[in-house]
């Protein structure tokens, strides 16, 4: 099994909400000071899904990251977890893309790689929360896709996927190669081992520029967008919290109930 996993670098989504600020000159989020970028959490679940498949089937896992300003120690995390190869689509021209231009570039890189059975993505990246790139890669490559996987089993050229639905899950069988996006119901990604970290440190990622994957700069990144970002803003939250006090937690609790009653919330 050759599995390709698409892994995005993002601003740590669990950084304190108050640390998220918008660059006043551009429509961009500023990386909060002291907060280092991380591998998108859902992409980590996708790497974990790939590793579980490799644990059973053997094979090779190739991670691909796309962007500008990729931090080498960060994007190597999939290698440290157990992936075999890392490809970086690293160039200014790839930056500020939307789902369309990102999926296009990833699709072209995957086409160049050629030999694959399965492509995994996280269900959505935690910056734009769009959840579209998996479907896009599938369309560009003419492959079937299944989203929101919580379990993937491979048997005889097919994947059996448990897909999360609004009221439970469904079991979907899809022919391979296919694109599958992975959700957190899969279960915690494994930690990198010391050995893995050592291997990752020595491993040089392959770097591809737009020309290497046969794309024009007009088709990728900001230039290749099909949606325009008009404005980025942070709505001000007014209102304050009425904290119930008391000499003991129990007394505060009673006062809370009384306050709620008074406000007709009970």
């Amino acid at each position: 099994m050759n599995v390709i996993v698409c892994v995005k670098q993002v601003i740590d989504p669990e950084a304190p909400p108050a640390s998220f600020k918008i660059d006043p000159t551009g429509n961009k989020m500023v990386t909060p000071p002291g907060v280092s970028p991380v591998v998108d959490p859902y992409a980590e679940y996708a790497v974990e899904a790939a590793l579980r498949i490799k644990d059973v089937q053997g094979g090779k896992i190739t991670a691909i990251s796309l962007g500008a300003n990729l931090v080498p120690e960060m994007v190597k995390k999939p290698l440290a977890m157990g992936a075999d190869e890392l490809i970086l689509l690293a160039d200014e021209a790839f930056a500020e893309g939307d789902s369309w231009s990102t999926a296009y570039a990833l699709g072209m890189a995957i086409k160049k790689l050629g030999d694959y059975d399965l492509i995994l993505c996280g269900r959505e990246a935690s910056d734009w929360d769009a959840g579209q790139v998996g479907s896009g890669i599938a369309e560009f490559l003419g492959l079937p896709s299944v989203s929101l996987a919580r379990k993937i089993d491979i048997t005889e050229g097919k994947a059996r996927v448990e897909r999360v639905t609004d009221d439970g899950y469904e079991v979907v069988e899809v022919s391979l190669p296919a694109v599958i996006t992975v959700s957190n119901e899969l279960g915690e990604p494994r930690y990198a081992t010391i050995k893995g970290i050592m291997i990752a440190r020595r491993k040089e990622p392959v770097v591809w520029k737009p020309a290497d994957i046969g794309v024009e700069s007009s088709q990728i990144g900001a230039a290749g967008r099909r949606s325009q970002l008009l404005k980025l803003f942070q709505p001000v939250r007014e209102g304050k919290c009425e904290v119930a006090e008391g000499d003991s937690p129990e007394e505060a609790a009673v006062n809370l109930a009384l306050k709620l009653r008074e406000a007709k919330a009970l």
């Binding site: 989504p13 304190p16 909400p17 108050a18 998220f20 429509n27 989020m29 939307d98 789902s99 369309w100 269900r123 935690s126 910056d127 734009w128 929360d129 769009a130 959840g131 579209q132 479907s135 599938a138 369309e139 079937p144 896709s145 989203s147 929101l148 919580r150 897909r163 639905t165 009221d167 899950y169 469904e170 079991v171 979907v172 069988e173 899809v174 022919s175 296919a178 119901e185 099909r226 949606s227 325009q228 970002l229 008009l230 404005k231 980025l232 803003f233 919290c241 009425e242 904290v243 937690p249 007394e251 505060a252 609790a253 009673v254 809370l256 009384l258 709620l260 406000a263 919330a265 009970l266």
Partner: protein, 332 residues
């Protein structure tokens, strides 16, 4: 682009009825269509769904397209994207709106890529720009830490809309409308994925999305046992139990109880968050609640910036006293 006209709603069906999200989409679509001075259409896709066309009209549609085929019994990207691409080519709407549900999340991007246009997912506001007549698509980004407004200059402009972000219209059974059937023309052999089984994991009692009161627990609850106490309070308040993501990930409660960006969107009258820090991704799911109450031992927790009422303290001490006082007040 001139030949594209009208607003099309993808109406989802569940248990033989229009889902709540579908009536919300019709309400929102009606406003957009009126602002454009154009028609509001709905499309129903599935097996045995024709009878619901009247419903869509009663909730605001001028026209309803129906694609009814046994092969469309279950949602599956291959068949639904191809059917919807066909519908869009025939109807040529300027705007197509779907729900941000397990179907819409999958169908909208697939369709946008197939048609060469762009989709904005999880929108909470849609409006027509009076100058350009393009749709402004507002969606939370960075887990809810910011919002973005997108436009798309190719038709159809596609958006999915978050549950409970829009209000349905009053049902009007006297409203007239046209029903048009479109053939699915599916080739069964071209469907590369098949649904083998559907499993419902609904918990007993009041549905989370419909509950007027929700008692939600977070990582601070510490285990499945603690949730029994939340259940007791929920029962007294005739409400439902919810959770942040860690209790679901840890198996303390069912995954279906997760509230938030990637879980359920709820808007109860009362939302009691116990041992929940108030991460933006969680708040995304409950910010529509009329009253948010926080019980947390950390006075600096973000939840106190979101809540209307709160207590700083250990829930193990606060909750039993709160529960018995509530029981007493409700008995009066």
């Amino acid at each position: 682009m001139a030949e594209y006209k009208g607003v099309l709603i993808y109406a989802e069906i569940g248990e033989g009825k229009l889902k709540a999200i579908s009536t919300e989409l019709l309400g929102c679509g009606r406003k957009l269509a009126d602002d454009l001075g154009q028609e509001l259409c709905a499309v129903l896709v599935g097996s045995g769904v024709s009878s619901l066309a009247r419903e869509a009209i009663a909730f605001g549609a001028d026209k309803v397209y129906v694609v009814d085929d046994p092969l469309l019994e279950d949602y599956q990207a291959d068949s639904y994207v191809s059917v919807m691409a066909k519908v869009v080519k025939q109807v040529m709407p300027q705007i197509l709106i779907l729900g941000q549900t397990s179907i819409g999340r999958d169908l909208a991007p697939g369709l946008a890529f197939r048609l060469g246009t762009a989709a904005a997912t999880d929108c909470i506001e849609l409006a027509i720009d009076p100058d350009s007549k393009l749709m402004w698509q507002t969606k939370p980004v960075y887990g809810g830490n910011a919002q973005a407004i997108f436009t798309c200059q190719s038709y159809p402009q596609i958006a999915t809309v978050r549950a409970k972000a829009m209000s349905p219209l009053e049902r009007d059974d006297s409203k007239q409308g046209e029903v048009i059937t479109i053939g699915a023309d599916l080739d069964a052999s071209a469907i590369r994925a098949r649904v083998l089984e559907k499993v419902r994991e609904e918990v007993e009692g009041i549905k989370l999305e419909e509950a007027e009161v929700i008692v939600s627990g977070g990582r601070g609850i510490g285990g499945a046992d603690g949730f029994k106490q939340l259940e007791e309070l929920a029962k007294i308040l005739k409400g439902a139990v919810g959770a942040s993501r860690p209790p679901c990930d840890n198996g303390w409660v069912a995954d279906s109880l997760q509230v938030g960006l990637t879980g359920k969107i709820v808007a109860p009258n009362l939302y009691i968050a116990v041992g929940i820090s108030g991460a933006s991704q969680h708040i995304s799911g409950c910010s529509g609640a009329k009253n948010i109450v926080a019980i947390n031992k950390d006075p600096e927790a973000n939840i106190f910036r979101q809540a209307h009422f709160g207590v700083v303290g250990d829930w193990k001490k606060v909750l039993p006293a709160f529960t018995s006082k509530v029981r007493e007040l409700l008995a009066e």
